[in-house]
Amino acid sequence: MLEVRNVSLYYGGICAVNDMSLEVAEGEIVGLIGTNGAGKTSLFNVITGFARASSGTVRFLGRDVTGYSGPRIAQAGMLRTFQTPVGFPKMTVMENMLVFSRADAAARPSIFRGASPARAVLEEAMEFLAIFGLAARAGDWVQDLAAPELKMLEFARAMMAHPKMLLLDEPAAGVNPALQGNLIEHIGALRRRGVTFLVVDHNLRFIRDICDRAYAMADGRLIASGPTGDVLNNPDVIRLYLGGGAGEEAA
C-alpha cells in the first residue's frame, strides 16, 4: 500500500531523514519509533506532501506520489494527524466533520450550489460522532472542547473522509491510560473497516499493543525493523531508549 524508498530530507545542512525505506501492506498497523528528533515527523511530512524529499521515492496504492502536494495526497486517500491535536477552533464540531467529508470535497468546486449539506451526510457525521462520544457536542465550537474530546474528534473526522490509510503522529501522547485503551479499540475498529495505519509513538507499550510490525529510527536512519516484539527487544533500540531517558517503564 505504502512504499518509501531511500528517502532523505535535509533542512539546510541538517539531515532530518537519512536514506529511510519502509513498507506498509494493506490492512497492517505498522509502528515507527525513535527518540525525539529522530526524524519521524519529518518522514511523515515527506510522505504526506508537507515536505519535499531531497531524494528517494514514495509510492502509494501502486502510484508514484513523490512530490505530490498535500491536498493531492489527501485526495488520494491518505490522511495524517499532527503531533499536537488540532481542529478548526472557530468552527463547530459538525462543521469540522463536514470539511473532511467526501460530500463536501465533491461540492467544493460548485460555489453557487446547495448551501446546506445533505441529510445523509449530517446523519453519517452524527453516527461517527456518536461512536466517539461527541454527539452531544456537535453544535459547539471546537475551541470549547476539552483535550480528550479533541483527540476523539481527530478520529471521528478522519472517518468522514473514508481514508485508505491513516498516519498518526504520536496519538497516545498526553493521553491518560483509560483513554489510551479507548484509542486502541477505535484503531482496531477502523482497521476492521479496512483502514491501514502507520503510527508514530513514544509509548512503547501502546506500540506493542497495536502494531503488527515496527520500524525504529535514530538520527534519521533506520536502525531496526521487523515484528514489533523483536524491534522492541533489539539491543540497539533498548540502548537508545534507556540512553534517551524514555525508560523501561514504557516497555
Binding site: 504526506t48 506532501g49 508537507f50 502536494s69 498535500g70 491536498p71 489527501a74 485526495q75 490522511l79 495524517r80 494527524t81 499532527f82 488540532v86 481542529g87 478548526f88 477552533p89 472557530k90 468552527m91 463547530t92 459538525m94 462543521e95 463536514l98 470539511v99 473532511f100 460530500a103 463536501d104 470535497a105 465533491a106 461540492a107 467544493r108 468546486p109 460548485s110 460555489i111 453557487f112 450550489r113 446547495g114 448551501a115 446546506s116 449539506p117 441529510r119 449530517l122 446523519e123 452524527m126 453516527e127 461517527f128 460522532l129 456518536a130 461512536i131 454527539a135 452531544a136 456537535a138 453544535g139 459547539d140 465550537w141 473522509a161 475498529a189 473497516r193
Partner: protein
C-alpha cells in the same frame, strides 16, 4: 425637514455602497484567510471599467480615448469581470506569499492602481476625472425624487451581495475557506488546496467590490482618482472590525455606523474653519470608537456566531452506528 430626509437617504445610499464592500471584505477576511489591504483596488477598477464601457465619447476638452457608450447593464457585467480579472492578476503573485506579505503587496497594488488612474490620461482622463455620468432609471422620476430611486437601487444591490456572500460562506466552498482561515495545515489534510481556494475567493470578492464601485459612480456621477485612495480600504476595515469580523450582520451594521459617524456631520452648515475642526473631530471619534470596541468587544458588536444545522437525532445516530457495527 425634507432636506434632512434627503440627506439621510443620501447617507443611507453611501452606507449601502460601503456595506457591499464591507461584505466583500468579510468574505475574504471573515470567512476566508485573506487579509486584504487593497480592497479599494477592485472598487476603483469596477468604477473605471464601468465608466469606460458606458460613458459617451470624450468631448474636445477631455483626453480619454474610449467612451464606448454601451448600455449600463453591460457596464455592470464588464465591471464585475474587470474586478474578477484584476483579483486574479493581483492574486497570482501575492497569494503565494505568507499572510503578512499578502497584506503589504495588496496595499502596494492599490497604490499602483491609483497612480495608474492619475497618469494614464488616455484611459481615465487623469486627475480631471470623467464627469456628468448618467444614472440608471433617471428618467423615471423628477430630479428631486431621484435620491430615493438610487437609494432603493443601492439597497437592492446590498441585499444581493448579502445573499450571495452568505450563500457562499455557508457552502462547502465556504467551509473550505473557513478551514483555511482556521488552520491551513489541517485544511490541507482535508484535501483543500490553499492557493486555488484562496484564488477563487479573492476573485469573487473582487467582482463584488467592483459592482459596488459601479454604485459609487452612480452616486457621484463622476470618477476621479482621489476617490480610490487606500483611505477607503481602512474605512472598510474599521467598519468590519466595529461590526464584527466573520459576521454578515456585523459587516452591514459596521458600514452604517461608520458612515453615520463619518459623514453625518457634513450636514451641519458651518464656517470653513469649524468644518476643518469637525473633520478632525470625526476621525478622532471613529478612532475612539475603534479603541472602545477593541477594548470591550474585541470581536465586534455582532461577533461571529456558530453555524447551526438542523442536526439529526442523537439517539437515532447512536443506534444507527450500532446497527452498522461501528461502535
Amino acid at each position: 425637514m425634507e432636506g434632512i430626509l434627503l440627506f439621510a437617504i443620501s447617507i443611507g445610499t453611501l452606507a449601502a455602497i460601503y456595506g457591499m464592500v464591507t461584505l466583500a471584505l468579510n468574505l475574504e477576511t471573515g470567512t476566508g484567510p485573506l487579509w486584504d489591504l487593497g480592497i479599494v483596488s477592485f472598487f476603483g477598477i469596477g468604477a473605471y471599467a464601468y465608466v469606460i464601457l458606458t460613458a459617451a465619447p470624450a468631448e474636445g476638452h477631455q483626453h480619454y480615448l474610449y467612451g464606448f457608450g454601451l448600455p449600463m447593464w453591460l457596464g455592470v457585467i464588464g465591471a464585475a469581470l474587470a474586478g474578477a480579472v484584476a483579483a486574479w492578476f493581483i492574486g497570482l503573485p501575492s497569494l503565494r506569499l505568507r499572510k503578512e506579505y499578502f497584506l503589504i503587496v495588496t496595499l502596494a497594488f492599490a497604490e499602483v492602481l491609483r497612480q495608474l488612474y492619475i497618469n494614464e490620461d488616455w484611459l481615465t482622463n487623469g486627475v480631471a476625472g470623467i464627469y456628468g455620468l448618467e444614472q440608471p432609471l433617471r428618467g423615471l422620476v423628477e430630479a428631486r425624487q431621484y435620491t430615493y430611486v438610487l437609494f432603493a437601487l443601492a439597497i437592492c444591490g446590498l441585499l444581493a451581495v448579502w445573499a450571495l456572500t452568505r450563500m457562499i460562506s455557508l457552502s462547502a466552498f465556504g467551509r473550505a475557506c473557513k478551514a483555511l482561515r482556521e488552520n491551513e495545515a489541517l485544511a490541507i489534510t482535508a484535501g483543500i488546496d490553499p492557493r486555488r481556494t484562496s484564488m477563487v475567493l479573492y476573485v469573487l470578492a473582487g467582482a463584488f467590490t467592483a459592482v459596488a464601485g459601479v454604485f459609487y459612480v452612480w452616486y457621484n456621477t463622476l470618477v476621479v482618482p482621489g476617490q480610490f485612495s487606500s483611505d477607503l480600504t481602512f474605512f472598510v476595515w474599521t467598519a468590519l472590525i466595529i461590526g464584527g469580523v466573520g459576521s454578515s450582520r456585523g459587516a452591514l451594521f459596521g458600514a452604517f455606523i461608520f458612515i453615520l459617524l463619518h459623514d453625518s456631520l457634513r450636514f451641519l452648515q458651518v464656517s470653513g474653519e469649524t468644518a476643518v475642526t469637525l473633520t478632525s473631530l470625526r476621525t478622532a471619534l471613529i478612532g475612539l470608537l475603534l479603541i472602545l470596541i477593541l477594548r470591550f468587544r474585541p470581536n465586534g458588536i455582532f461577533p461571529e456566531t456558530r453555524v447551526v444545522f438542523k442536526l439529526p437525532d442523537r439517539a437515532k445516530a447512536a443506534e444507527g452506528a450500532k446497527r452498522k457495527g461501528l461502535a
